[in-house]
Symmetry: C2
Subunit: 148 residues, 2 copies
Amino acid sequence: MRDALAGFTRFDEFQKSSGVAPNILSRRLKELVEDGLLEKVCYSTSPARFEYHLTPAGRDFRSVILALAEWGSTHFSPEGRQMQLVEIATQRPVQVQLVDSDNGQPLALEKYQMVPGPAASPMIHYRHDYLQKKHAGDHTQKFAPPSL
Amino acid sequence: MRDALAGFTRFDEFQKSSGVAPNILSRRLKELVEDGLLEKVCYSTSPARFEYHLTPAGRDFRSVILALAEWGSTHFSPEGRQMQLVEIATQRPVQVQLVDSDNGQPLALEKYQMVPGPAASPMIHYRHDYLQKKHAGDHTQKFAPPSL
């Protein structure tokens, strides 16, 4: 996915860039197509040749890669960054940040929290209630989720 | 990591919450400690009992999980969200967005780009130059990276 987001589209590009064995790469690309992140597009009919284009879901995955790259560079690159996000117009290095899209505020732990959503299972509700009590200082409860 | 970020700290909590077999969970926790995302802390000496606390790198991994959750919910949850990020004070559902921390601008593809950083290898420089030309419309070049 990193390579597809960088702009690679063809099998031999993915293969040479990643160094992954062709049979494994072929399986991975197939899975990404099945999962709806890539689509296989015919770009030549004789001989039949295909390339892999990002779907909208695939393109959106860029934000996950950017968050992961920011995290990895911050904590695990004492030798400096291998890749750096820049603003194209100025080539200014950019630090990425995750914010609340309504007000642009950073997602501070004290202010924002995950809660069960409309499709939450009983297990998720139980987990949430347990963690709320634990967070409030209740260390006596036993974690005994409803059987699934 | 999702469970540790949610607030779980103890082996049996991780085990019951994830349903992962104890030997596999034990190996995963050990790897996360070795990788510097969790630390093993003794909370009782007789009997000796340990719990797992997030390190600073582990806590920061939250932004990757949030980006992944936003992406997954947007593209793969026709039935609605299992978990929803909310602002604690108001319980308002929050949509997360990745921005340029200097000016709060969203990271539009046309304006922001990954370029090789100070620690980039020759392979990374080659990849970047190749993709720049491909992006500019040069479809004649062959992808032949320097041997590693």
